[in-house]
Symmetry: C2
Subunit: 238 residues, 2 copies
């Protein structure tokens, strides 16, 4: 169970964006610590995540929230990872966080103020600090962008929903298509080495193309028809 905690948000728009990003990734428990006024602008940015905003809980301080709720694992976030010599802010990547997190425990994902992030004191309350690898030219992300990336990485682990109802093609299905191409190349009287090279290239392309079952079915039909037609015409010519 995940609580998303936003400490002293300064802009209602960002609270709305945060709510939307949460709902996009199946999260719905928003906690605001001593927030700015949450009005129409937050609702506008939340779009279809009004329920997340309406059900959010408010606490006067992060330490009070942590004392009153039985959080098992506190994850801080920072845009300024410390390097080796700022021990408060030694941070892991979202991927490493996801590897280590126990989805059955009560987890708080804690985001800081838009301008200043979490204080060292707040960071010290956390069990782990996470940061997103970014360009040295401009490392600081918008808070809701950073949240979306972390939610996305966690959601990949949860994997509650596959994308649509797509089934990937099987190796056999791709081989069936390649076999038709083999017969087609044979009928084209390609010299053997060119035949083999071409077939290999074709097979590789199919392999790299993430073909779905449906697409494989269609391609198989097409190449079977091409092959049938060519062989028929070939026989006719003779």
């Amino acid at each position: 169970m995940f609580d998303v905690v936003f400490v002293e948000p300064e802009s209602p728009g960002n609270v709305g964006f945060m709510a939307r990003a949460m709902k996009n990734f199946g999260l719905n428990r928003l906690v605001l610590i001593n927030p700015c006024h949450i009005g129409e602008e937050a609702q506008c940015h939340a779009m279809h995540a009004q329920d997340v905003l309406e059900n959010c809980k408010t606490y006067p301080s992060l330490s009070q929230f942590l004392e009153e709720t039985g959080i098992d694992f506190k994850v801080g976030t920072t845009g300024t990872a410390g390097g080796s010599y700022n021990v408060h802010r030694i941070a892991v990547t979202p991927e490493k966080l996801t590897d280590s997190i126990n989805l059955d425990s009560k987890v708080a994902l804690i985001f800081g103020r838009e301008g200043d992030g979490l204080t060292n004191h707040e960071i010290d309350l956390c069990d782990v600090v996470v940061t997103i690898p970014t360009s040295n030219d401009y490392p600081i992300m918008n808070i809701s962008h950073a949240a979306a990336v972390i939610f996305y990485e966690l959601y990949k682990k949860v994997k509650l929903y596959p994308i649509g109802d797509v089934r990937e093609s099987s190796r056999q299905e791709r081989e069936d298509i390649t076999r038709y191409m083999d017969q087609i190349l044979g009928d084209l009287d390609y010299p053997p080495h060119k035949h083999q090279t071409t077939l290999t290239i074709f097979r590789r392309i199919l392999g790299r193309a993430f073909i779905t079952g449906r697409e494989a079915h269609t391609m198989k039909g097409v190449f079977r028809k091409i092959k049938d037609r060519m062989i028929k015409d070939h026989v006719k010519d003779k």
Copy 2:
């Protein structure tokens, strides 16, 4: 080389957010297709990515951009992946995209209108379509959030910059700490089975804790001191 193409953006704020997310992940070539007016609101949301906004290029249509520039690989994006029976929109995840992309080629990452995304015609111009796995309850992400997630996933592949100057601890460093704990447990006269179980738990905790070299150094010092002190006191007691 990556061009980030935003087709008919409707809100200047989103163009600014897009520029910021780009710069966060080391991207700087923004292309706008028939955009809304880009003024102060875009600049405000771009924060420290003004250069990305200033250097952006504008084209009247996606097809004209693709004709005039030698893009090798066109990546469309969609929030409504098609499932098996909308063949236009059969999509891969950002991870799969990243696996397959050739970083030496000229790639266009193409994002559609905030409201309606890319048209089927525009999607058909693409070599691959990418979508982010999201909750069925609210699958449609804010455009700049979606862009940030895709940029993040690509950036992980590029891996131009490590996080800060952090070096992970070596196995040997963690074992050094564990050896001190072993001696400490011996001095505590733990029964052998309890000694072994406790040591195993300790070793596991160190292994899961993503300890850096600096942290390992510190911990080693602490446990060495504990051990020295205990053994000294023990000798004194006798």
